[in-house]
């Protein structure tokens, strides 16, 4: 994180996918800034560039143009690009992800799933995992496997897993897409509560009702932020 609380800064961020010999632009110069404790929603229709923006900020993919700084580290810009290993380390140490599909490991219990990101550090933190599952309301589901949990419960486990590394930035890509209205609201409120604790949250959605409840709404269309 930079001194002024900036967690992620993008200037003129571009991404062009190559389809055969042709280039297909997905992002055409996105500018955005995320600060610690900010709860921002990236709102836009399908294909607008929401997921691409999240993937670039989350260091899952590389921009083809522009500048990107995440947690004080220059990922892209000024003619230089971060190495793959450094991007892995940045994700491991500073970024949490929540996806619409929860991607829980089916053979592991909720408690074990939450600790998966620690394996890469040769660590285990069952107490913190338990604490996080308690925070997301799953204290009673610690030893349940994903096939024994509801969709909302699986998403909560995924959220606890995203938080196990004490990230600075949480990126959520349509986290409520597969949930009913009541569970959607619960998950949304949990994310809001996390941002109040100082976590920068960027949530991508096409749900305008959810966007109205965010601190900041970034409307994206055809790869450009059209309204801030």
């Amino acid at each position: 994180m930079s001194r002024n609380g900036q967690v992620a800064v993008a200037r003129g961020l571009e991404k062009v996918y190559r389809v055969g010999r042709r280039g297909s632009p997905a992002l055409c110069g996105v500018d955005l800034e995320l600060r610690a404790g900010q709860f921002a929603v990236l709102l836009g229709p399908s294909g607008a560039g929401k997921t691409t923006t999240l993937n670039l900020i989350g260091c899952l993919d590389r921009p083809t143009g522009g500048e990107l700084t995440v947690v004080g580290h220059s990922v892209h810009g000024n003619g230089s690009a971060m190495s793959e290993g450094a991007m892995d380390a940045l994700r491991r140490d500073h970024i949490g992800f929540v996806f619409s599909d929860f991607y829980l490991l089916p053979t592991l219990t909720a408690l074990e799933n939450v600790q998966v990101p620690l394996i890469w550090r040769d660590e285990a933190a069952p107490d913190r995992a338990r604490e996080l599952l308690q925070r997301v309301g799953l204290k009673h589901r610690l030893s349940h496997r994903p096939d024994e949990l509801s969709g909302g419960e699986m998403q909560r486990v995924a959220m606890a897993r995203a938080l196990i590394n004490r990230p600075t930035l949480l990126l959520a890509d349509e986290p409520t897409a597969n949930l009913d209205t009541r569970t959607r609201d619960e998950v949304f409120e949990l994310l809001r509560a996390l941002s109040r604790d100082g976590l920068a949250v960027l949530l991508a959605t096409h749900d305008t009702e959810l966007a109205e409840r965010a601190d900041t709404v970034l409307c994206i269309r055809d790869g450009i932020i059209v309204e801030d």
């Binding site: 993937n55 989350g58 899952l60 993919d61 793959e84 290993g85 892995d88 380390a89 994700r91 491991r92 140490d93 970024i95 992800f97 996806f99 599909d101 991607y103 490991l105 089916p106 053979t107 592991l108 074990e112 600790q115 998966v116 990101p117 620690l118 394996i119 890469w120 040769d122 660590e123 285990a124 897993r161 590394n165």
Partner: protein, 398 residues
Amino acid sequence: MSGWLRIASKNILRRPVRSILTLAGVALAVAMLFNLLQFQRGYERGLRGELGDLGAHIMIVPRGCPYEAATIVLHGGKWPRYMEQDWYDIVRETEGIAASTGIIMDAVIREGGAENLIYMGIDDDYPSLRGQWEYSAGEWFDGEDTAILGVTAADRMGVAPGDSITIEDGSRVPATPVRVSGVLRRTNTQDDGLIFLPQQTLQRIFGLEEKLVVILVKLEDVTRTEEVASALRQTSADADAGMNIFPLSELLSTLTSLLSSTRVFVLAIVVVALLVGGVGVLTTILMAVYERTREIGMMKAMGAGRLDVFRLIWLETLITTLAGGVAGIALALVSARGMVALLRLVLPHTPTEFALGFSPDTFWLCLAVSAVLGVAAGTYPAWRAASISPIEAIRGGV
């Protein structure tokens, strides 16, 4: 490390039937390898022990296949060729010989081959070559028509010193009673099943006067084996005696080298089995990698590097092959008795004390082979998994 092991082992157990079948392929190959290595070891040890029990350094038999003759001498039986008793005197006069004995053998087959009574005619020198020859009852021959029985033969016939047994074989051998003068203590050699008669008694009863089957020679100095063998060959040639002289060390090395040739062939089959097992593991792990593409993408999104993913898939492969290796060794140990019984049926000669046991060297070697198999089979799937792009994986492609 426990986190890695837990996740790797749970991934393997995700498809139990497929994993068990893969593991079984490795287990069978490792079981074959384990048994092959133990066979070589057990056979050589058994043969060495058997030859050592003879108490001789040089064996002299009539012309013919010396290895066939050696088998008859080691296990007892009927040998169709004989040498003249005079040759024994030629042997005894050769320099460098500490002790020697001439042996004549014959067998009576009863009840269609179900019972085989082997008679060995020996002289006073025989016990001195046999190491510990002790009596559980009675003593050395105390007359012309007396016999000493090995413990198994005595038990089978239900006789003790003082009892009488009758030697007969239809019209070939007329019924001749002999009195048991002694019963030997158990020696765990072929002697346990033999009936010993004074040399001349056996020659008379079986109509083999002045004939011998084998002469065993013990040397004063084992390092002079070749020298004494050459001298005996020269003497035999000069006397036109037609003796086949071969040192037992030569017999051992010839038999083991024959065995080694067979072993190379069997080893080739084992290598093919290991390769098939390895390909099975590779296919299974590769399939698992394809099935778990999205999961692997998620792991990378959470910060797993290429090396981490590589390590995880490698570990899964290694666990599979090592578990297969341990199962294979267990299978080899469980099936050892059956294998020995089968080998005794198939092989022309197996030592009496022949077993496929456990040895730490073979155990560790088989585990090392399993590990190498895991490392080799796991490399490609691990590399494929490590190369998965998180973006592509999460989108649903590879």
